[in-house]
Amino acid sequence: MLDTATLTTRTDEICAAHLGREGALLPILHDIQAEFGYVPQDCLQQIARALNISRAEVHGVVSFYHDFREMPAGRHVIKLCRAEACQAVGADDLSAYARAKLGVDWHETTPDGSVTLEPVFCLGLCACGPAALIDGKLTARLDTAKLDEILGDLA
């Protein structure tokens, strides 16, 4: 659990660092998520006040973009590419395998909190698919064996 004092202080610092920039909200939200791992509900009002907009507007932006989480993710985040170029080289079968093996569907976290599985639509690795982003690290030419190896390393 985040303690309120830390949340308030860090949110203030992050807002202050971006104030005066044109269109500061996205850079602020990126920093908030980098800091806390998600965008806690408790900091929305504070961000709204800093930017002189309504809390509803901040919520609207957070909920619009796929990147921003409203809840913490698992300890590891696997983003598997679902886009066409990866589909052409077996991404659908690979993601079916990953979902079965982890026992979760898209956007879900394993019960032990270790892995969150998410789709991503293109990582720009389209001539060496299937591709994935594992804890922010790019990987490509995936198959079930390579995925097993990655999952083994994460556990």
Binding site: E84, A88, A127
Partner: protein, 508 residues
């Protein structure tokens, strides 16, 4: 020994950082002096990670490299099992007309002197000696059209912004390259970022804009990192700042990061996102050129459009315009992806046929099975069957076949592809990524998935319904997301009817 190893996302995804560590470790163990340069990618993805070693006759390539192949780099190179010969002489490289990507893979992307020594800033230097209207005229004469997919003449867009009266104008670079099969923007930002900065500075001179933004998608962590470093480098060296190269007007820029919304690749949605709002599409007019970022005149150009400006200015509009086909002038970086034997980036003048690209350059499928379909132009592009492989690569030529070239990405599928499933995915993707502003896109895409599912269950009565829905989405949507989703759906239906002819008995 001078060794080149790409820092490009492809190479890194395939283990380049581990290879770099192994090279350093092996060099210190054997006492060999090694200068390791992390370059961009040459675009030959099947050879990645591709290591190059400088030799008197040129750079010799080795790939695809694995950790086990590293020690042999320190022995007799002619005997190396992964040697591919002189990189520049490989058919893939020799067959290209590299203008925009001339330096990509050649230089150290973050070495200012390296960029300068390889014709960097030649275009900007020339632009600084010209009037803004002459720069606009030069870009117009080159015939350059928006490489993001819309194909709007870049010079005309610039002219509109140049003639607009405002205290502040902006150059916004659209680096939200979300289309599957496209990676040219990523490659140039990682492999030659100063070219993009140079192009944006020229756009500033031409239009009177003093501030630029590059909006990069968050799925490109390496491109974001390199671009941020390149902007600092350009600022420290006086290219950007209070006076461009110390003798022009002010121009500076910032890197901004998207947040995983495909629709933000649409220019008005991107502008809203950049302003810190939901990435909802704006109705046009007003044009962004007149009321763009913060309601002020704004050039919104794709990465490749802007990165092509320096070479156009350096070599002259006539040189660029002499290449190409019909109204598609200059070169296009083809991005060949999916199930292909030889995939990657191939920059060439417009005009090759789809068949030449798929069969000759890409060498057919990686699986060795027959090519069934090629999706050209990303998730909003049409699926082309072999019967249309004689279509020449050009804006009008593809439009004439109910398709589009988009950002010039090509995804090849072999005969195991199920085109009904691909049509369903197109609708599903549109439903996931719709910004929600207009009804044909927001509701139509959901109904589209349901309708394709009915067809999959053998309900042939749903086929005319799907066609009708596509007509509504095509003419009734505000932007290309809802408006172009019918391209993959209808092309799948029209060119591959067998995949949609499912009998109820077979399904049950």
């Amino acid at each position: 020994m001078k060794i080149y190893l790409p820092l490009d996302s492809v190479a890194v995804a395939l283990g380049a950082d581990d290879l770099a560590a192994a090279i350093t470790a092996h060099a210190s163990k054997t006492g060999v002096q090694v200068e390791l340069i992390r370059n961009g990618s040459r675009g030959m993805v099947w050879l990645e990670p591709l290591i190059e070693i400088e030799a008197p006759e040129g750079r010799i390539g080795f790939g695809p490299m694995t950790l086990a192949d590293i020690p042999a780099l320190f022995a007799d190179l002619a005997q190396h099992p992964k040697a591919v010969g002189l990189v520049e002489a490989l058919p893939w490289m020799a067959g290209q007309t590299r203008l925009t990507f001339a330096r990509c893979g050649v230089i150290d992307p973050l070495n200012f002197n390296d960029f300068n020594a390889n014709d960097g800033f030649a275009g900007l230097a020339r632009a600084l000696d010209m009037t803004s209207s002459d720069i606009v005229a030069e870009v117009t004469a080159s015939g350059l059209r928006g490489r993001g997919g819309a194909g709007f003449p870049t010079g005309i867009k610039w002219k509109t912004v140049a003639e607009a009266k405002a205290a502040q104008k902006y150059i916004v670079c659209n680096a939200d390259e979300g289309d599957s099969a496209t990676f040219a923007d990523r490659m140039i930002m990682e492999g030659d970022p100063l070219t993009l900065i140079e192009g944006m500075a020229i756009a500033g001179l031409a239009t009177g804009a003093t501030k630029g933004f590059v909006y990069i998608r968050s799925e490109y962590p390496i491109a974001i990192d390199i671009m941020q470093k390149a902007v600092l480098l350009a600022r420290v060296n006086g290219v950007l700042g209070a006076s461009v190269m110390g003798r022009g007007p002010a121009f500076d820029m910032e890197i901004r990061v998207g947040a995983g919304a495909y629709v933000c690749g649409e220019e008005t949605s991107l502008l809203n996102s950049l302003e810190g709002k939901r990435g909802v599409v704006r109705a046009k007019p007003p044009l962004p050129a007149l009321q763009g970022f913060m309601g002020l005149p704004t050039v919104v150009n794709n990465v490749i459009s802007l990165a092509s400006i320096p070479v156009i200015m350096a070599k002259g509009a006539a040189h660029y315009a002499a290449i190409g086909l019909g109204r598609s002038r200059g070169t296009i970086p083809l991005q060949i992806a999916g199930n292909v034997k030889y995939g990657g980036l191939f920059e060439v003048g417009f005009g090759l046929t789809l068949g030449q690209i798929v069969d000759d350059i890409a060498g057919g499928t990686a699986t060795g099975r027959p090519v069934k379909a090629v999706q050209v132009g990303g998730p909003l592009g049409a699926y082309f069957p072999r019967a249309l492989f004689d279509t020449p690569f050009g804006y009008e030529e593809f439009a004439g076949k109910e398709g589009l070239i988009g950002h010039a990405g090509l995804t090849v599928f072999d005969d195991s592809a199920d085109m009904l499933a691909q049509a369903r995915f197109a609708m599903e993707f549109c439903a996931i990524e719709s910004c929600g502003k207009c009804t044909p896109c927001r509701i139509g895409a959901v109904r589209g998935v349901e309708t394709v599912d009915r067809i999959a269950k053998g309900d042939t009565a749903a086929i005319p319904l799907l066609t009708d829905l596509c007509a509504t989405m095509k003419s009734g949507s505000l932007c290309a997301l809802g408006g172009f989703t019918p391209y993959p759906v209808l092309s799948a239906l029209n060119h591959f009817p067998a995949d949609f002819a499912r009998t109820k008995e077979a399904v049950e």
